[in-house]
Symmetry: C2
Subunit: 329 residues, 2 copies
């Protein structure tokens, strides 16, 4: 039955870009979920894993996953498939060297949580690839093939990089893969993406870590009293440290700016508490920020044209306005 589905998928891939085959490099939480979600959406999918153990787990679940990266990339080049790099940032150079070696002009995207560093690496190691960066903003504190699911991206934002000069045909591919996986498409320049995620993802991870350490420093009494606000505020401190480090350290410059903004606000708050004892400015600004965030949770959808004058600038404006791309005009 799976073979029949795959065959049907391959046949359809010649008919419509919405059925393009997908090759996923990396079968961890994100790559494994992508394989499942794209397959469920009717795509032809195959992939690679870093270890034979992971590849075996994926095959046991009925997926065409091997450790033969060159073979998978050659097949992608032959089928004009979209290749998705779902490996941690430090593993990218080696994978990109293989892309350049066996599938140099392939359609290429990624699922890494920073975008400038990935674009730089592609420019250095696989400069001929038709690359459009991506970032599906979904995750759990779990990791590995077994933690993945076809529903991981449901309703999540999937940033598609919209810097000048990239291939609009591949942009369409990436957006349609995001939709096929149930995500909403948010266009953004790579550097704007990195600044935004520093504020709303990387800084929250560091705050959670510091909060957890300050709480633990209070000893058993403090830990036994810690509940609601502490439990929520430190949840992501439970994530595997290696994943947090790869994510945050790969976004150093943008993260420094966010940390400095936070330190400035905390310093002003500390000064007010020590002098007048008043925290109203801090608490009200926080309440206002949370209220604005809540109001932004049902973004307006817009249909866009990938032709005409400056389509990428128009796409960036959609993301900057907090909107999402829902289809083609």
């Amino acid at each position: 039955m799976r073979v029949a589905a795959i065959t049907a998928g391959v046949a359809r891939s010649f008919l419509s870009v919405t059925e393009r085959a997908v090759c996923v490099i990396g079968a961890g939480l994100i790559g494994g979920s992508l394989l499942r979600a794209a397959e469920k959406a009717g795509r032809t999918v195959w992939g690679t894993a870093a270890s034979e153990a992971t590849a075996g787990e994926a095959r046991a679940d009925g997926f065409d996953v091997t450790t033969d990266t060159d073979g998978a990339l050659r097949r992608a080049a032959d089928a004009d498939a979209l290749v998705v790099l779902a490996v941690p940032l430090p593993a990218l150079p080696a994978v990109l060297a293989r892309v350049d070696g066996v599938a140099p002009t392939v359609r290429l995207t990624d699922a890494v949580s920073v975008k400038v560093a990935v674009a730089d690496a592609v420019g250095q190691y696989a400069p001929r690839a038709r690359f459009v960066g991506g970032h599906p903003m979904a995750g759990t504190s779990a990791s590995g093939w077994a933690a993945g699911s076809a529903g991981l991206f449901d309703g999540a934002a999937w940033v598609v990089a919209a810097d000048d000069g990239l291939d609009l045909d591949v942009w369409r591919d990436v957006a349609e893969l995001a939709w096929a996986c149930g995500a909403r498409v948010v266009p953004a320049a790579a550097d704007e993406h990195d600044l935004a995620v520093a504020r709303i993802s990387h800084l929250p991870h560091l705050f959670a870590a510091v909060l957890a350490a300050v709480g633990a420093e209070g000893g058993p009494l403090a830990l036994s009293l810690a509940a609601g606000s502490f439990a929520d505020g430190t949840r992501v401190a439970g994530t595997r440290p290696e994943l947090v480090l790869a994510m945050c350290e790969g976004n150093r410059d943008a993260l420094l700016a966010a940390v400095d903004d936070a330190l400035g606000r905390l310093g002003a708050m500390r000064g007010a508490l020590a002098s007048t004892g008043g925290l109203a400015a801090t608490v009200r600004a926080g309440h206002d920020g949370r209220t604005r965030w809540a109001a932004a949770q049902e973004p307006e959808g817009v249909r866009v044209r990938l032709s005409g004058r400056a389509p990428l600038a128009r796409l960036r404006d959609v993301g900057r306005a907090g909107k999402t791309v829902t289809g083609w005009a």
Copy 2:
């Protein structure tokens, strides 16, 4: 039926301390939940509200709640009931003056989130009261009578102040009220309580506020991408600012110490990020803290004796060890 229950409750209050009547001053989220939980546990309960509107809501739900504070306190003195002050810290002096006026030696506890400031206020305004501080650590971001429920304290920590010199008979009353409401009893000196909650409750509220403000500063793109880590890390920034301010500003000295600990850690992290780019120390300390918190979530229960040598010092040791009092030895 309720009248019959009340009459039976009063009769029982002469038989056993576990059936002691409870008078709750304040009918907001905490006071209203206390009335419901104690009544559900079979206690005779009555209370007061700051406004006729709130008192009317409570009466419509079948509770004996008025705005006549003097009357409620006189009745408590007559019945040797336990009076629970469930009003915000700034409202305490006025209420304590009424206690001193009409029920000066009443059994008295409170449900305010700081303990040193409350003990100071009692010493100043109602010095003859038989006072033992309390802090049921439960809450939601909602407030008011309608937001309350009999189950609010289920499984929550209820700190019972254990400073030298207080009335052990009232300590027993407060602990038994906490158990009747489904909470677990954690003894602590007032100042140790304040230092602990600064770390695990007040600082998390300020971190949430700063994180929400930093995220909002990123504009619509950042807010549209903010999900898991940001949503969790800023949840309590949605709490009514007045409640957060009363709580945090009332614990200024202890909070300053917690803020300085956090600022020190954030500064070290900022330095490491800017110099070597490494965040391992921060992230690993956070992961370790979160792991220790998770391990502390099923505290060991101990039975204690409220007599013999230094019972209050023994109680404080129970709380310091992260344990909970589950009964009398």
